[in-house]
Symmetry: D2
Subunit: 281 residues, 4 copies
């Protein structure tokens, strides 16, 4: 129902991927060939971590800019995505599947130093919303500001230990959703791709109860891309450690974007990209 992108690597002006890429996130908002819906015009969000300050102790806290306007004509997104540089950022364009168009329903969601975003849906969420909301830790319950399934899923993962074991907590949260859904007679409760970050690593999950998840791709490593396309001037924008995971390829160049397999979690960190089995549908 949405499209998203997560970047990690050398500090970058986010506009390079959000606005200027051939099939940028903003272009996907208006026309998304691989999306469940081609139009993702129900608001957007952009979350970014600051460049590391070696003096500062502790984790870096991200900033978030969200708007209910379609991304394609939002002037503020143009300004802000050129005014900052960031070593790790999330961008998301929304196609609402029910919950209202309001900033609190726009991704990414934030808690402390964590960002979270989601494309997909919990099927028949209204049937199990109350049960899932009750499964959220009581101290986190009043912090939910919107009405999406995605925000509940994030708070379930926080409840189930996201800060200590991100992969395990997302697994447990999805299993909780599936249990509740199955008990309510929903055959395939979970659908989606998810990204979560603590400011250093990005974990990107592709999973659906039916085994037919929304599309998800990751970039090849930059030195490899440079070798493939030595004349591509645009590559000079990117450092050797630049990597993205994104709902669909940002350009049409063969070999630059590779599919993230079903039922896997992709991990993007300073070591590079790898993925591992996550859950069986």
């Amino acid at each position: 129902m949405c499209r998203w992108l997560a970047y990690t690597g050398e500090p970058l002006q986010p506009a390079a991927l959000i606005l200027d890429a051939q099939h940028s996130v903003v272009a996907m908002a208006e026309n998304s060939p691989l999306g469940a819906e081609t139009v993702n015009g129900d608001g957007f969000g952009f979350g970014w971590y600051p460049v590391a300050n070696t003096d500062a102790a502790g984790p870096r806290h991200p900033s978030v800019f969200r708007s209910i306007e379609p991304a394609w004509n939002d002037q503020n997104l143009r300004e802000i995505s050129r005014a900052v540089v960031s070593p790790l950022f999330f961008a998301h364009v929304r196609a609402a599947a029910g919950p209202p168009i309001q900033q609190t329903n726009c991704h990414p969601f934030r808690h402390d130093n964590w960002l979270f975003m989601h494309n997909g849906a919990i099927s028949q969420f209204g049937l199990i919303k109350r049960e899932l909301a009750l499964a959220v830790d009581p101290s986190l319950y009043p912090l939910m500001q919107g009405t999406t399934d995605s925000e509940v899923l994030f708070h379930l993962a926080l409840t189930l230990g996201l800060a200590d074991d991100p992969i395990g907590a997302v697994r447990a949260a999805i299993r909780r959703v599936e249990e509740a859904g199955h008990a309510a007679g929903v055959q395939f409760p979970m659908q989606g791709t998810l990204a979560v970050s603590d400011g250093e690593t990005v974990w990107a999950f592709r999973y659906s109860s039916q085994g037919r998840s929304r599309s998800l791709f990751h970039s090849a490593d930059v030195p490899t891309i440079r070798a493939m396309y030595p004349d591509a001037d645009r590559l000079s924008l990117f450092g050797d450690h630049a990597q993205v995971v994104v709902s669909e390829p940002l350009n049409d160049l063969p070999g630059v974007f590779r599919e993230v397999p079903e039922s896997t979690v992709a991990v993007l960190d300073p070591e590079g990209y790898h993925h591992e089995a996550f859950l069986d549908a």
Copy 2:
């Protein structure tokens, strides 16, 4: 934290009270002398019932127009409040005390043929939000679209029998809020004035746990006002059964607006106005 008005009587162009009165609801948005806050610029809402159609069976369903812009410069409110006529309408301007600025947090709230609006707050709502939300009937829980204390209070009242006994259900809902608040160590959990309607009668409550409620006034009956101010041309706009209950007087004419006493419920119906004791603080 807000200001509101409810009208019942002969079908009227709502702009007469929302825009054109000396201290109209829109004027109160920018400057509210009796309000807990003088500026109520965090969105507004307008709900209205259609003129009765004698052919139609069953209750009349209201329409609602809500916006996150300040009421004072909203062009659409100007258009719509002049384009319709209504025998019963609610208008509300919001001063947010925490929950985000979004249409789903603007009053009035609607369920079937019922409208509800609130000025005031549940003190330290975050402490008891989860408990109160759980007390809402599970079938109503997923229908809550925003994040205000007021919407939860409305759904509590619906859960506790609003459709059958409006006064009893609001009393029970407030008692539920006070129990939860006291258990959480809140001395004065409930503050506010509330209005609720089924499309025929308006019930307006003035109550706070501390016995110091937000201001609330009702209009004298129109024939009496005409006798007091025989030269007031503006009175020709109003029928003999026109009556309002409103957060503060719509004009400075002595005798036109009278205070609704503490701990009472005012009832406006085709018989006219009366109030009765509601709850002791």
Copy 3:
């Protein structure tokens, strides 16, 4: 760059055409098969004349509701298009081609009892905007509230006698645009379909300098449609004099919608529909 609809006939709840038709105006906002752009998500407008009041002298004044949100998820449009009935209304969904997303750039535009809307563009408007704005009557100049080519075109037509001779004034305005464009080296200055009304008649123009105008259709007369589709229950919504002119057919039923020819003006009035030659490209 946009899609629009104009209705005239028996008073009708506009939602029947704006929301509920198979290919309603709201559906066209998200997916417009015949549009120059398939997505028309840059705001919308809805203008409607009240039901005639036989007591009132003079022309009827329309109301206008405009929003910068995409039409497909705007809750207020749902409310208002069901809450009113109107014998003549305009609806428009916008795909911006440059001018900013703001209510003052949303159609229809209004002046006294006149409404105006446009799909298309004045080519390279920036080159001749100043010249055309200067050609607007000085008393009308400060009334232009937005920055679109369409609003300038409307005010040019008002300057050139719209109130007395609508067809002649629109012709003169378009000729003025073409003169200015040609002088600035623009080969095909004018593109579009236009609708204008005084509250009794709708004039709908299909014209472009190149002779390849945006799509435009009109409905067959209702008794004919009833004879063609005797089992279509939905037709009971419409009176015998209901007629629309619209950017593309509202449904897939053969014979219900017919193309308005190039370089013609369609006239919809209580006598029914006819079109006549307008301008040669």
Copy 4:
């Protein structure tokens, strides 16, 4: 009709002045004791220059974030004013005196490396809008995106040589406004305080035809303030060259803010603050 602030000095997180000061710009939006209107809730704008990059040739280009929501509850302003640091920024909260509430009517306005903002009005602007707009250079005319008197004034100043002689160009623009106003029978055509910057210097003008201009203050130099208030921890946020010019004092500390005299232009540059006579009313 508005309130504004301009900062220049060591790179600073703008939130220090926009959000966190005792009487911050956001506080002035809701309550402005010295303003012509106490509520400035009709949108806001924030424009900032980047930290100088010694590698880059030529002037620095500012970014602009503008919104039609009241500043006091805008979440994005909170995020962005904490996420950037800037050696020179403008912030403005608007109280509309006629022109519509839309981003293109929010200050600051931008042209190349220049920012401009205004508090006040051209009296009876509708009478002379056309004449003033015609006095704008034809190449600049189509770049005006909104409908305010302020934007026309900025483009008049650009036409009259702002880039080469800022003080002379603003003087000439104001004289042009006064000539047009007087010719149209307006006694006091110009009212206001203006700020303009090229990214290195801020020029702030206080002038009105009547000699009774809107309030304007500048800060004392920081070392002097430190000597006056040695225990003020908050001063550690600011470098020795930090200086602001602002519609009203940001705090209640005697001596920190000093009035800019009538009919002067204040100049803030790396040399510090001074003002000089500007125009006689």
